[in-house]
Subunit: 325 residues, 2 copies
């Protein structure tokens, strides 16, 4: 069976009627956008569908058309009648959909649309393309292959998925195809500037207050090649911050000229610290994180340490100094 | 005479030999990139050319191929023999090239390549397209029309010009064509992630120190609809900062949820303050700036006030409160 079975995917959608479309827990822009794009495809054919994610949709994604209809499968009871035809988008394996799995019948057939190279191929039909920067790029291909008419909402979903998974076209995963599809989506009505404003420019007041507090702790070693900031529990309380308000903070030390590894230490409780590591490229932070039981990618990795904040800083910075000396 | 005379522009280049290529003072990414792209076009035809700008090239643009060859017409004496065939890129009028004009002979012929709607049409041949997000987009069209072979350096220049003038494809001036050309440039070897890293991600340590100091002054009024920060002369000294290190600071108050106008007050001396205003869209800051003798665009404007810092804050914030109440 091909991992990228476009004919099978089209037949799966054409033959079904009442679909459940799900994506992964802690949904990001690509998860929500790809789910909404799939729902627009299904509805454009006059078929019914329900969308569900086992988490709330982040507020900054609520501008997407149809986002208010996504059910929260973590807080809502499963429906009396479970679904027998399911489309999973942006889920590398079945367990990634979390409690949304409880909405799926035992005999259900499933279409798996995803771009993660690690996708384990679950489901009855798979549409997996690891070269795609975002699952939204695969949805673009599906829409084109099915001849579904482009609308502004559909174009905005595809644009959003690509924009968020490529960090505004800045990450190394952005390809010529990513930009070409984004251009096409603008021609179909997507407002690139409006979407970027919602998702990349606007930040919460809590985020800026945390930034101020974090920058006050900015420290360096190894001739500025290692830079870090810390955020304590009381910082979080004083800023009235949620964990999503921390997003992007680790990039501040990372982006300073000369810094090779930027680190954010976040105190979770007295004896627990979450460590985010970002590399400018020369240092493999995934390998480093692994030696502390963490994981991630070459340029972005994380560790959880069970010790006080100050000890965590000494442990991680000390380890990196040994590695980079 | 057409404002966009492609045939005339091609003849101008084909008929000449020894060119001077200039751009505007205080050069930005589009100015430097378009100048370098024009030089690559001329040199690909086996013709000689000299590149000059009446300022230094900002360090963050020095990764561009050929940037080290650009002469500084502000610090260097004009050559003994002045140039008789000149290409001006990204200059809305002749005076924008500053002291580079001293390198041009009295009888010189000039090709004017630009995208500013306000371009006054100076020169003998003009290639002006106000719809282009960047002058680099017009260079792309010139290269295509001339059949010049794409190379990686040429592709990187065009990509850089578009990226910088559209704020990483985020401003409202970015069109489907901007993204389509950027995609094409990646296919010709431009590394979007590398260029974004150089120009949009990396910041100086001085910038981050100024950011820390500026955020400590973050203030709001009108229910957070107006937000501002201030930077004093001693902040600049303590951070060991140049004026370019202030770049982007005004976006911090501007980007906070709910803020409609973000302001940066920069103390130049005891009785002089530079004010940068950024609007989220609802307030026309150009009109407001004009009432204080300043100017700019609807969403980005500036004012210079001859008064102490605290008085400048009261004057501008007070004026905006009156406007927005």
């Amino acid at each position: 069976m091909s991992r990228f079975d476009m004919e099978g995917a089209i037949n799966f959608i054409r033959e079904g009627d009442d679909f459940l479309i799900v994506s992964h827990v802690q949904p990001d822009g690509d998860a929500v956008s790809s789910l909404l794009a799939a729902a627009l495809v299904v509805r454009s054919l006059g078929k019914r569908c329900t969308t569900a994610i086992a988490d709330r949709v982040p507020p900054k994604l609520m501008f997407l058309p149809g986002s208010d209809l996504i059910r929260n499968a973590r807080t809502e009871e499963p429906p009396g009648r479970l679904y027998s035809r399911v489309i999973a988008v942006d889920c590398a394996d079945f367990s990634r959909m979390g409690m949304a799995a409880n909405w799926i019948g035992d005999d259900a057939r499933l279409l798996n649309i995803d771009h993660h190279p690690t996708n384990d191929g679950f489901g009855d039909v798979t549409l997996i393309r690891p070269e795609a920067a975002a699952t939204a790029e695969i949805l673009h291909e599906l829409v084109t292959a099915m001849g579904v008419r482009w609308t502004k909402p559909l174009a905005e979903c595809i644009y959003t998925g690509i924009l968020t998974d490529t960090g505004g076209f800045r990450y190394t995963n952005a390809t010529p195809a990513s930009l070409r599809i984004a251009s096409e989506m603008m021609e179909h009505g997507a407002s690139g500037s409006r979407i970027a404003e919602h998702l990349l420019e606007r930040v919460s007041l809590a985020h800026v207050i945390l930034l101020k507090k974090a920058l006050a702790t900015l420290s360096f070693t190894e001739g500025n090649r290692i830079g870090w900031v810390t955020v304590t529990r009381s910082d979080m309380e004083e800023a009235n911050a949620q964990s999503e308000d921390l997003e992007g903070l680790v990039n501040y030390p990372r982006n300073i000229e000369g810094v090779e590894v930027g680190i954010l230490f976040k105190e979770v409780d007295e004896n627990k610290v979450k460590v985010s590591l970002r590399s400018a490229g020369a240092v493999d932070v995934a390998a480093f994180a692994k030696s502390f039981g963490g994981g991630g990618h070459v340029r972005a990795a994380g560790i959880t340490l069970h010790m006080p904040l100050q000890e965590a800083v000494e442990t991680v910075v000390g380890g990196l100094r040994g590695l980079m000396a």
